[in-house]
Symmetry: C2
Subunit: 283 residues, 2 copies
Amino acid sequence: MTEASPLGIIAGAGSFPLALARAATAQGRPVFGLLLKGIAGRELEAYPHAWVGIGRFGAMVGHARKAGCRDLVLIGSLVRPYLWTTIPDLGALKALPELIRLYRGGDDHLLRGIAAIFERQGFRLLAAQDVAPELLMPSGPLGGRSPGDDDWADIAVACRAIAALGPYDVGQGMVIGQRRIVAVEGAEGTDGMLERCAAMLEGGRLRWPRGNGILVKAPKPGQDRRVDLPAIGPATVEKAAAAGLRGVAVVAGSTLVVDMQEVIRTADRLGLFVVGVEGQAAA
Amino acid sequence: MTEASPLGIIAGAGSFPLALARAATAQGRPVFGLLLKGIAGRELEAYPHAWVGIGRFGAMVGHARKAGCRDLVLIGSLVRPYLWTTIPDLGALKALPELIRLYRGGDDHLLRGIAAIFERQGFRLLAAQDVAPELLMPSGPLGGRSPGDDDWADIAVACRAIAALGPYDVGQGMVIGQRRIVAVEGAEGTDGMLERCAAMLEGGRLRWPRGNGILVKAPKPGQDRRVDLPAIGPATVEKAAAAGLRGVAVVAGSTLVVDMQEVIRTADRLGLFVVGVEGQAAA
């Protein structure tokens, strides 16, 4: 009866939680939202839900059990919490030594550890893309534009550089142009990196004309695909355009896309390519 | 008579050109400044000099020959020029196809190529540290503070990550804390990266208390040590303090330090460590 049990959506910020809830509902599957206080948007209040604090594992488990959930999905963006400022409950306190250890290992370890904690409570942690494969980036271009030979060479260089940083839990996104990587994504996130490129272009620090440069995002090798795939949406394309870039390249089948139709419209309106790169080409 | 010929200093921005001119003069060696228009400071006008445009290799070669220079040093920071906005002279035009090829390969290729162009004109391109070894970072701490065990572990992780990015001509500097790399240096430069960390700390995106995090800088493997060593100065320590960091770690013998006494005073005043890491420990 796993399939008929409500899908528990532990919802962070952004548009993905709602997109997932809609996709599940369209499949006839009921949904129960575990909405992270101060982080999730209110759109999921349209579904059965409970608001929970980010450190309160015990409460999440309790709500999920009461709602009859067997399967959970962790989705949406989380600004990494400063552990000591969250108010942990009993369930979290039991896991605290493990959480502290995980916390020091970077985002990837943290998320994988949270998954393991839920699994030990008897839940199955699913990937959003397993529930709603239509959220995954397809191979090839979205919209009317495609990368040229020169762009493909840049994309390959950036994908190799992202892979080289794989063991370090940083640098899932880069901006490259004319074979030169000009920005590497850290804790500022993709949006922050694109805003920096826009400022560098404006200030003359990036001395290339508008219409150069590509945003490349790829998952880290060994990343837990259930909880931490790279993601893009219409806002990503808009910020890339503001940074003067010519396109966006992400790994097909390993990137979540929110509102694909709007991504296509935005890309075509602003004259950027948005392309899904085959994993082999990216590796 | 090479030693008695004036040392030609092709001067970019910042304090290093003057520090080098002073060091050479103190050794009894005359100096001739080739000051890059719009980039170099006016302090070197106290020495025999000529102002030259950045693309004007022919003019540089002419001035240097006329002044009797045999040895040249390229020193000071350069914002990477957008090639087409510089006004090349005949000397540069002859080298243009080579420059374009180099330009596409990243900073490291560009600088190495410029060195080769001067060498073909009969000059010897020296490293600043060969002329003035006192500009090099020594091993161990400058000032009163030293890294703890936890800091050393962070420094080692960042050094490995910098080495992993070595082939990609990016990421010579990183900020790390609690084993997590939070910022990677791109075209924005070290100062830009530190300003970003200060903003992330301020905005709550970096959720660690002040006094966490370390700036780590290391040369890229294969970097031409004559033209592109990492550099720090008092301003680096000030910006690291403003970002809430606890220290600065650079590779001993492979990092230029402008005004070492002032770096020590600034570090002690602001309570940061500044440490020279042995190459082996860094590798």
